[in-house]
Amino acid sequence: MTGWKFRARQLARNPLSLAGIIIIFIFAIIAIFAPLIAPTPEGHGNPYLIPRDGYSATPQLPSEEHIFGTTEGQYDIFYGVIWGTRSAFHVGLVVIGIIVVVGIILGSLAGYFGGVIDEVIMRITDIFLAFPALILAMAIVTVIGPSLKSVMIALVVVSWPSYARLIRGDILQVREEDYIEASRGLGASSARVIIRHALPNAIYPTLIMASLDIGAVVLSAAALSFLGLGAPEGYADWGQLTSFARNWIVGPSADPLRYWFAVTIPGLFILFFVLGWNLLGDAFRDILDPRLARR
């Protein structure tokens, strides 16, 4: 059995990682079929803006018309969480995609060439890593102006250094291997050696772990949105939907849990989305670390 098939089988056999795969699969289905699950009303412009049922502040209880109820400002929660799944994938995939590309370029330059290039790139990563990530992201978003795009830019800026470092370490490990020497001896250019020989042998584990960080990225983005630094008001976004409920955590004295749906439902979507990726990530970590796998 080849290594990859073996690993795939290991994943499917472990109940936790299997649960992770199923959760992510369900979210993918929701994102793809959002227009069918929560159809945009006729004549409503941008489908990512949640349709409103009036302008009253008080949330409406779940009903036939609004199966998860409405939150503050009469935004339909069901519509918001379904289309919010698309926003989550969008933010996660774009941010991770850019980080991986930046990380690979800078990390392999630093690892392969060493010397001054390595020193400069590593000292720059030191500067970024000197900040607690969310705080730096918050500062960046504040300065360039709150929006979903700013959140994505900020998350890229605060996250690329760790990936660049990981990939640099991977490259350093293979740099002295015979096949790299051989390729160099045959007159291959540095770019060719890096792209054709060093990277393919060095970075797959890092790439897999990076792709599973989508959950962490979405969680940070949701936190920034919750603080009011993300998408514009009314955009389908889980973090923002949660923040709408902040004034409604305590219901009227006869029924203190009256608005539970507005408080809990958007957060549950965030929780399960992140959980799915983390379950998968945890299983992969065990598989990729042979020292732990054997025990």
Binding site: P132, A133, M138, A223, R246, W260, L271
Partner: protein
């Protein structure tokens, strides 16, 4: 290399990092025009008419490095600008909001360390049994929890459903009056410590009642993190020769786990204290905002949503300095705990 030489070397290495950090923070403000940057120092509407004067004073229309020089000089003199949301200088805001945050950290840190280490080593000692599976799922769950949502749900239950059992903010109204009265000496501005020093039971109880939910919210993620790390570190330690020796010479399993395996397994946990600090720093912004617990995190979040740039950047700078220092202390501590680490930084 001796310990002193090592510390000196590490301190010298900090200089370029801190220099880079300040250049970066100042560089961000270059997104703005000189007029907008001048307004970061403006304290009142009346001063807005003096913008040209402020630009002149701080040299805001000069070349980058010259401006940076003026700015860093101001920073060394404690002038980080004016925080509009709280109507005070950024430096004063930091010091006046810090005690509340310290109070959270004083309670959260021991919980994170003790709970994380205990649960993690229990999981490892019972690998693949029920305890292990439960803690594993709990750790991944805790790691995936949106803390802002956890805070809201906790408030909904313990403030809403249980009728104000565990309320938000730092103190209830009457206690707040009492604390600010002349009879109550504010030694540290940390409510619980001041209450103990003033021998005031009701204030202590009230402060603790307000601390329970924020401390839980703040700790969950870090407990999950330490727990997972402790588990794998402990598993590795349990497979080592010295554990086999300890078992072979007939020591009780409890002694083997607690003394021989756990002590060695603690070393990797110490090295991540820096991450734990970062987790706390990120966490206080969210936690304090939800619970209206007026510490530096609350202030920073207020500043961010109301575009109080000076406040946000001052807060970021403060955290970066603290984070760098924490990492330094962790590294020094590490060389003490693990004698195998030579001070050159190489493990033999």
């Amino acid at each position: 290399m001796g310990l002193r030489a090592y510390i000196v070397r590490r301190l010298l290495l900090l200089i370029p990092v801190l220099f880079g950090v300040t250049v970066f923070i100042f560089g961000i403000t270059m997104f703005f025009s000189p007029i907008e940057r001048a307004s970061l120092y403006v304290r009142s509407a009346r001063q807005m008419s003096n913008l040209p004067l402020i630009i002149e004073t701080y040299g805001l229309d000069r070349p980058f490095w010259e401006q940076y020089g003026t700015w860093i000089n101001q920073v060394f003199h404690g002038n980080l600008g004016w925080s509009a949301v709280v109507q005070m200088p950024v430096w004063d805001a930091l010091w006046s909001f810090l005690p509340a945050t310290l109070e959270l950290a004083i309670f959260a840190t021991p919980i994170i360390i003790l709970a994380g280490i205990f649960l993690g080593s229990q999981a490892a000692a019972h690998k693949d049994r029920a305890v292990d599976h439960v803690t594993r799922v709990a750790a991944i769950g805790g790691w995936s929890l949106p803390t802002f949502w956890l805070g809201l749900v906790l408030l909904m239950i313990f403030y809403g459903y249980f009728r104000g059992l565990l309320p938000p903010e730092r103190l209830s109204h009457p206690m707040n009056m009492l604390v600010n009265s002349a009879d109550f000496v504010r030694y540290t501005h940390i409510n619980t410590i001041d209450a103990i020093l003033n021998l005031n039971g009701p204030v202590l109880l009230d402060a603790l009642r307000h601390l329970i939910l924020p401390v839980i919210t703040l700790s969950v993620v870090d407990v999950a993190f330490i727990m997972r790390l402790m588990r794998s570190s402990m598993l590795e330690s349990l497979g080592k020769g010295y554990v086999l020796t300890a078992r072979a010479k007939g020591l009780a399993e409890r002694v083997v786990v607690n003394k021989h395996a756990r002590r060695n397994a603690l070393i990797p946990v110490i090295t991540v204290s820096g991450y734990v600090f970062a987790g706390l720093a990120n966490g206080v912004v969210i936690t304090e905002t939800i619970f209206a617990f007026k510490g530096i995190g609350w202030w920073a979040a207020q500043a961010a949503t109301r575009l109080d740039i000076a406040g946000v950047l001052g807060f970021a700078l403060f955290n970066a300095f603290l984070f760098v220092l924490v990492n330094l202390v962790v590294d020094i501590l590490y060389t003490r705990v693990d004698p195998r680490v030579r001070l050159g930084g190489v493990v033999q």
